[in-house]
């Protein structure tokens, strides 16, 4: 099986099927990542489309300085951060959901509601959110997270710790 960099080189030389093979290789992982966060298959697929559409354009200038997976995670992270921002405004404008929100808050005491968790994550500061997303949705080690986000391992750990504390408070977890 060809390595990612070999496929990218082929794609850069005009071989479109090499790009298709690369997409197939990372498709389920990428859609799974977005599905974990959005809880909506359609939205997850749309976001994955956005990612691979962006990569189709940017991979032509790929410099082979990092692993393709790191590059892909970084694109995923940027895409999901944009989605969080968009979604925050949507939730802010959907005033009719205030009653439902109250129901969710009471049910959190009894058990986990994933949607509520990701709503709480979307309200975190960007750095904390990026680390949490990579850690929870992808289960990446801190070293990989520091490669993707550009922060040091220590900073990533501190951000994650602060984020967990905030989430714990937000979800009233005992």
């Amino acid at each position: 099986m060809e390595k990612d960099h070999e496929l990218i080189k082929l794609y850069q030389n005009g071989n479109q099927t090499a790009y298709d093979r690369l997409v197939r290789r990372y498709l389920s992982n990428t859609v799974g990542f977005f599905y974990t966060i959005t809880r909506d298959k359609m939205v997850a697929e749309d976001l994955a489309q956005d990612v691979f559409f962006k990569l189709f354009k940017t991979l032509k200038n790929f410099k082979f300085q990092s692993a393709f997976s790191t590059y892909l995670y970084r694109t995923n992270l940027n895409t999901v951060n944009s989605w969080f921002t968009r979604n925050k405004w949507k939730r802010f404008l959907h005033l009719d959901q205030i009653l439902n929100q109250q129901k969710i808050d009471t049910s959190v005491e009894k058990g986990w509601i994933k949607k509520e968790l990701w709503n709480a994550i979307s309200n975190l500061p960007k750095k904390q959110r990026s680390v949490v997303v990579m850690r929870i949705a992808e289960e990446l080690p801190y070293k990989e997270i520091s490669n993707i986000t550009g922060m040091s391992e220590g900073t990533a750990k501190v951000n994650f710790h602060h984020a967990l504390r905030t989430l714990k408070d937000a979800l009233n977890d005992e």
């Binding site: 298709d20 389920s28 799974g32 974990t36 994955a48 489309q49 559409f53 967990l164 714990k168």
Partner: protein, 131 residues
Amino acid sequence: MRLMMNKFEKKIIMENKEDVHINSDDFLAKLHSRIQTSNTNRQTLFTSLAFVFTVLLLIITEFGAPESKIENYFVDSTDNLLETDFWNIMIDSLDYDQDYYNDMAYFLLDEGYVWETVELIEQLAARKGES
């Protein structure tokens, strides 16, 4: 505290673990269609920009417009038209030749200005005498 956090971390990771099945052929078909649409849109944009640029260039440079002949619309020198009032003529009346005075005298006689004719002849004679 640290232990509690690790527990909480594991809990949310486990809660969020889910597999998604997706048809990669359908996904790729959609992706290719999107790429093609994007390329078409880009081509349309470039063509439109080139067209607008060409039109603007033609407007600015007036390229292709017939060369206008200014002399058809106004006279370059307006001196001759404007400076024809009697008091502006810078020519001494004595400079006119004898035929002019004769013609003027005949004209005045025809019109019945006898005394004016006499006066004209006298003035002419007087001026001739002066010069």
